[in-house]
């Protein structure tokens, strides 16, 4: 597989080392930023036309369209940076409909004083992630705000994908008896961010799981198992996504605690901080509701994909306890898994 370095673009040097207000003015410095930083990395036939809009041909059928804004702090973390997240997050939201993601827009809000070198690294990650996901960045925008008006860099991405005929994933399709499949270990992204934040002085070795999941989804669809719903458990974690499944379908979900994969380093960090991994964000995982008879087929296909090696059936959909998520543990007792309230805060002792 090609390495990040082998794809790197030969970027010309800019006059300034940091982002200036004038870089967002629409004048000469704006043009310089676009030509020196953005075009060499994102360049494609559509973008290179530098029109006010992107135009492209569309196939017949249904499209998926999604948008997301990224304000993560810190902007660089173990396993990725805000640029990877901005691409993968929107690609995944589009892909959860069964669509093949094709086009992305990207909007930057840059804080005056951001080192150009950091911007270059972010842009390079965007290029690499977009290439890995097979999407083109076809339109974009940059604004610069005064120092203190934003935190280094905020990024918005929107994505468009095309849904193959006869594919209709959605929570409305979930049925009692469906199996709940999780594509891999939980809480890696959220704990990577938390342990990198200022003030936490232990070295965790935890890496964000940020990844584009459209390849994994394509593999699942090729298995020809009946997938009813897909969602990526980002903010609020697995608990939130499953509560959305239960709440919107009117059905209950039963989980088996010991089947949910959590990597040891993540578990350790969660234990120390008093945080429940079920509520922690993921950026490269999906949850599927799959018909009972096809669950093993889909699971087997997932496990052959690099992003699904730890995939597991973690529970099932039931008519019991409508709209509630209940988890059984190895002692035979059970507890409610509720929606989270606000951000989880580390406890005192």
């Amino acid at each position: 597989m090609a390495t990040l370095e082998s794809f790197s673009c030969p970027l010309p040097k800019l006059y300034y080392d940091t982002v200036q207000l004038a870089h967002g003015s629409g004048g000469k410095l704006s043009a310089e930023l676009i030509e020196a930083i953005f075009l060499p990395c994102f360049g494609n036939d559509t973008l290179n036309q530098l029109e006010d809009q992107a135009t492209f041909a569309v196939p017949k059928g249904r499209m998926a369209f999604s948008t997301d804004t990224f304000v993560v702090n810190p902007i660089f973390f173990s396993g990725g940076n805000i640029g990877d997240l901005a691409v993968n997050g929107t690609v995944n939201d589009v892909a959860m409909s069964g669509a093949t993601p094709k086009f992305l827009s990207i909007g930057f809000v840059l804080e005056e004083g951001l080192p150009i070198e950091e911007l270059r690294q972010i842009v390079e990650s965007i290029r690499y992630s977009a290439q890995q996901a097979g999407v083109n960045i076809v339109t974009g925008d940059t604004k610069v705000v005064e120092k203190g008006s934003c935190d280094k860099v905020f990024i918005n991405t929107s994505g468009i994908g095309f849904i193959p005929p006869e594919i209709n994933f959605g929570i409305a399709q979930i049925r009692p008896g469906d199996k709940i499949i999780l594509s891999g270990s939980i809480a890696d992204h959220g704990m990577a961010i938390l342990t990198k934040r200022k003030g936490l002085s232990f070295q965790s070795g935890i890496k964000s799981d940020t990844a584009a999941l459209n390849g994994l989804i394509a593999t699942m669809m090729e298995s020809e198992g009946t997938i009813h719903a897909l969602r990526d458990p980002t903010r609020g974690g697995v608990a939130t996504t499953l509560n959305e499944f239960a709440g919107q379908s009117g059905l209950g979900i039963r989980l088996q605690q010991e089947t949910i994969p959590v990597n040891d380093a993540v578990r350790g960090a969660c234990e120390i901080l008093g945080i429940d991994p079920l509520y922690v964000a993921n950026e490269g995982k999906l949850i599927a509701a799959v018909s009972e008879e096809h669950a093993e087929l889909v699971l087997e296909a997932m496990r052959k994909h690099p992003l699904g090696t730890q995939a597991a059936i973690i529970g099932e959909v039931t008519n019991d306890h409508p709209k509630k998520v209940v988890m059984e543990n190895a002692y035979g007792t059970e507890r409610i898994i509720d929606m989270p309230i606000g951000e989880q805060l580390p406890r005192i002792c």
Partner: protein, 362 residues
């Protein structure tokens, strides 16, 4: 995972539950002191396993819950001052004051920062010599050594821009107050393992003797808790009432002597108000006169702030084990984690929060 999975082993859990059931001749009422124990019990469903044999009553050992409302109001007042960096552990930030909590104060412009240790607050004080850095020093004997160390270090370094808003409370006076109450139902205690890791257990021996109650020093994992419950039931069944240690991997009889020496040099025992319970004599710590310059209440003159609790909240009765959270008319209706009336619904260790999270009707 080593040191965790051994203490959560399902076969061992089942064996201990079986043993407890086999020796019990009646339903015993046992109070776990610590909120961390309450959450572990609820999260793992241990109360379900022991149903009919042991009634577990949830004690006052949640530092967030027993911190008086007026301390929260003082914290908000200090945090809202210009030139102050107010630092706190995470779970104090959401505790409701009488008009707002610390997170709301932050959204209005106060410089409120979450830290993971008082030593981080001290570091902020070194980095911001032009600002006053205040740490919200809340908790039982468990968190006290760290808070005392920060003060001692600040004095040693001559840092005059560091202070602590202190609300330290002590477990043994609360245990005595509960047992002295006319409404007491508690027949035995699971003492809080982490508190005993600092203080040891000698100070519990007079309580066990005076009130003729078994006290067993207990940890937090399912097997720790069940072992503590088993030892307690064994004492109850045989009419014994002594202090025993079910948490020997963390607790020694005399505790952590270095920490205790530090505590003795920095703190003095005072009467303290407990949220929902009231004043318990000699139940808290304040700085000794030698360290008074680091007392935020004196530095910012907030001692005059006094506040009344909301009438609907029965957290006092819950903290004393008189009522269970789901016996409160406001539980889950007027009072939810999104809109808590009392701290027991906010804190990660609060009994109401534990019931709301894990124990709503399935």
């Amino acid at each position: 995972m080593k040191y965790i999975d051994e203490f959560r082993n399902p076969q061992a859990v089942k064996a201990l539950v079986h043993e407890i059931k086999s020796i019990s001749t009646q339903k015993w009422v046992i109070m776990e002191i610590c909120g961390g124990q309450t959450h572990s019990i609820m999260k793992n469903g241990l109360h379900q396993l022991l149903d009919g044999v042991v009634e577990l009553v949830h004690g006052p050992g949640c530092p967030v819950c027993v911190t008086p409302l007026e301390l929260i109001d003082q914290a908000v007042e200090i945090a809202s001052l210009p030139n102050v960096i107010f630092t706190s552990f995470g779970d104090m930030l959401r505790v409701p004051g009488s008009s707002k909590n610390l997170l709301e104060a932050r959204s209005e412009g106060a410089d409120v920062r979450m830290v993971y240790s008082p030593l981080e607050a001290l570091k902020l004080a070194r980095e911001h010599l032009d600002k006053e850095v205040v740490f919200f020093a809340v908790g039982f004997e468990t968190t006290a050594p760290g808070n005392a160390m920060a003060i001692a270090q600040a004095k040693k370094e001559g840092l005059t821009n560091f202070s602590e808003l202190i609300s330290h409370v002590l477990v043994p006076p609360a245990m005595t107050a509960l047992l002295s109450s006319e409404t007491n139902r508690v027949q035995a205690y699971l003492a809080a393992g982490h508190v005993c890791a600092v203080m040891g257990w000698e100070e519990y021996e007079p309580i066990a003797a005076q009130f003729r109650v078994p006290i067993v020093v207990t940890g937090f994992e399912p097997l720790d808790l069940l072992k503590g419950i088993l030892m307690t039931v064994q004492q109850l069944e045989s009419g014994k009432h002594v202090v025993e240690n079910a948490y020997p991997r963390a607790v020694a009889r005399k505790g952590n002597q270095q920490a205790k020496a530090l505590l003795q040099s920095v703190f003095q025992t005072i009467d303290r108000k407990w949220r929902g319970i009231g004043i318990i004599p000699q139940s808290g710590w304040a700085l000794t006169p030698e360290f008074a310059a680091f007392d935020a209440t004196l530095k910012f003159e907030t001692g005059h702030i006094k506040t009344q609790e909301p009438k609907e909240c029965i957290s006092g009765e819950i903290l004393q084990g008189i009522k269970k959270p789901n016996q409160c008319p406001a539980f889950g209706t007027l009072c939810t984690p999104e809109h808590p009336l009392g701290a027991t619904m906010v804190s990660g260790e609060g009994a109401c929060s534990a019931y709301f999270r894990y124990h709503k009707e399935v």
